[in-house]
């Protein structure tokens, strides 16, 4: 994300313009342009942050949401809203369900993707390209298009009502294979050949050469999978029927039906759901952004 070229561009543009006009005009023009850009950036940011701000203020506020006044600042900060949902519903359980499902799906899907990526990038086997294209084309399959048979399959396997019903199909995420292959093609084949000559087996090569070189890939895949699984809604909604198995998004949707107008409680629950991901995003922003950009997720 290094941004240096564009600054150079702007600077040189400014210089070439100044050749025909006086330096004073140039400075004023740049100043005005800069101020204008800052104003636009601030306005855009305020608009973009507004919904999240309202969520946080409402979750923390003891004010009745029914007041006709517009309160955009938290007055009477309190945790009452959290206490209300926590005592009425097993939020802790839902949270730990989300953690379990997300963690297991992420671990399995990252392992499987990285292995397949290595296979497609560096190993020789018959029908490699057609097989890769077939996997690639599954990225285009819409979730709603396979809902019915997928449900019947998982049902036939006796998994409906267990976490495995979410985890196993969730691990069949082919975009990870695509990303992993793209990354691993850049690993020098000579390195692998050399290890082979030294007598290393395929598993050893993968474990001690390929994986250590793939840390950035692992970071991106892990974060994308975490985000996707933490937020996944439609599929868990179908296969997790028992409230004690709900993940946070399912619990959130369920609470919406129960607390139609208690927005203090609903926003508290929303904050619990989005909070961990927002923190994760702020800490690992660089990797997230790289992941969005390369995988085209969302």
């Amino acid at each position: 994300m290094a941004v240096t070229a564009d600054q150079g561009a702007v600077r040189s543009r400014a210089t070439s313009v100044s050749a025909t006009r006086g330096p004073a005009t140039r400075r004023t023009r740049t100043r005005v342009g800069l101020a204008l850009r800052v104003v636009v950036a601030v306005v855009v940011s305020v608009v973009m942050a507004f919904p999240l701000w309202v969520m946080i203020v409402t979750a923390l506020s003891g004010q009745s949401v029914f007041s006709t006044e517009l309160d955009l600042l938290p007055t009477n900060i309190t945790l009452d809203n959290f206490a209300r949902v926590f005592t009425a519903w097993p939020i802790g359980q839902w949270f730990s369900n989300s953690v379990t499902v997300t963690a297991l799906t992420t671990i399995i899907s990252v392992i499987v993707s990285v292995m397949a990526g290595y296979g497609f990038a560096k190993l020789r086997f018959p029908a490699k390209t057609p097989l890769f294209l077939l996997l690639l084309s599954t990225m285009m399959i819409p979730t709603q298009a396979i809902l019915v048979p997928q449900f019947r399959l998982v049902n036939a396997l006796g998994l409906v009502g267990t976490f495995w019903a979410v985890i196993i199909p969730g691990a069949a995420a082919t975009f990870g294979i695509f990303l992993a292959r793209q990354f691993m093609i850049a690993i020098p084949t000579e390195l692998i050949e050399a290890a082979k000559i030294d007598g290393a087996g395929p598993v050893r090569i993968f474990w001690s050469i390929v994986l250590p070189l793939s840390k950035p890939l692992l970071a991106v895949l892990t974060l994308l999978s975490l985000m996707y699984q933490w937020n996944d809604f439609l599929w868990p909604l179908i296969v997790l029927r028992d409230p004690s198995l709900y993940t946070l998004p399912i619990g959130l949707q369920f609470l919406q039906g129960q607390y139609q107008t208690d927005y203090g409680a609903l926003m508290a629950m929303t904050l619990i759901t989005v909070g961990p991901l927002i923190v994760l995003f702020l800490v690992f922003q660089r990797w997230f952004v790289q992941g969005f950009a390369t995988s085209g997720i969302r």
């Binding site: 941004v3 313009v17 973009m48 599954t138 399959i141 069949a172 937020n231 809604f233 997230f288 969005f292």
Partner: protein, 316 residues
């Protein structure tokens, strides 16, 4: 972001780089490949490819809601569709939703990318704020939306009144306004994505192009129109495909924000397929048929875009 740039630049992702000619006396088949590739192929086969074939099968069946038994129906489910007002409405809404959200989110994304790519203090902070909605789940977005757009206690209407409007907007009871509320929420979460891709693409544009254009006397708009826009073309192509596919399949946000209402004014194919197959009627055969429609739309669109892009490259 080098990978992103490569991807956005439309480099062929499938042909392996520097594939060496086969060497004599070497096996074509490394047995360990089975170990590495096997699990992913099995998973994709079981949970993506077979279900896709299954969808075509179930779309021609009557599936009993209680026992799950199937009886052949031929194309009856597809005939039902034509007489199903909600389906037709959902199809039109999906098309309208796509036609509105895709160009808007891309134009705003490009404008923001150009802004964030220029000299701007605090650039990192503004970028983060624009990206942030991307990580929030569709359900949370929808739920925040129900609060913002609530006609009685919603912040948006309170704000409008505080700013001098005589009354709030009927976001939940009027179909057109409900549709607009869905579009606005979608733009909120989608603009950041277009901005990321355009930023990656803009950072690969050589600065001397702008310099040359400036020397030729091109003004700001001309430089944008004749230098920036053509150079981010591959990113635009990528974004059109990704954004249209997203819009065809939109579900979570609408399900929670309006649940397709009022009436069926915000019903889309994604929500209607779910309601038919897993709602009270549990008509899974018909649900699968709607799934086929979503799949075919996605497929046709992708192929058309791909071809158009290829022929454009050939002409250029």
């Amino acid at each position: 972001m080098s990978q992103a740039a490569a991807l956005a630049a439309g480099q062929d992702a499938v042909t392996p780089a520097g594939r060496s000619p086969r060497r004599r006396g070497r096996s074509l088949w490394e047995p360990s490949a089975l170990l590495f590739v096997g699990p992913s192929v099995l998973l994709a086969l079981a949970f993506l490819i077979l279900p896709m074939l299954g969808t075509f099968f179930y779309s021609t069946q009557k599936v009993s809601p209680l026992t799950g038994d199937t009886t052949p129906l031929g194309l009856e489910n597809f005939r039902t569709m034509l007489g199903d007002d909600t389906f037709v409405r959902a199809l039109l809404n999906t098309a309208l939703f796509t036609v509105i959200t895709v160009p808007l989110s891309m134009a705003l994304g490009l404008a923001l990318a150009v802004l964030m790519n220029s000299v701007l203090p605090g650039r990192k902070i503004w970028r983060t704020v624009v990206y942030l909605p991307l990580v929030i789940s569709g359900v949370s977005v929808g739920l925040i939306g129900t609060f913002l757009y609530n006609e009685v206690i919603g912040v948006v209407n309170k704000l409008l009144v505080a700013l001098g409007a005589s009354s709030g907007i009927p976001w939940q009871s009027n179909g057109a306004w409900a549709f607009i509320s869905v579009v606005l929420v979608t733009l909120w979460i989608r603009v950041g994505f277009s901005m990321i891709i355009y930023l990656a693409s803009l950072q690969a544009v050589p600065p001397d192009l702008y310099e040359a254009a400036a020397l030729d006397g091109a003004n700001g708009w001309q430089r944008f129109r004749n230098v920036t826009v053509p150079l981010v073309g591959p990113a635009t192509f990528f974004l059109i495909i990704m954004n249209v596919i997203y819009s065809f399949q939109v579900f979570d946000t609408i399900f929670v924000l309006t649940n397709g209402g009022p009436g069926n004014s915000t019903e889309v194919l994604g929500t209607w397929a779910y309601k038919v197959a897993f709602g009270p009627t549990r008509d899974q055969g018909y649900g699968a048929a709607i799934g086929v429609v979503i799949f075919v739309l996605t497929l046709v669109f992708t192929i058309v875009q791909w071809r158009a892009n290829r022929s454009r490259d050939e002409v250029a």
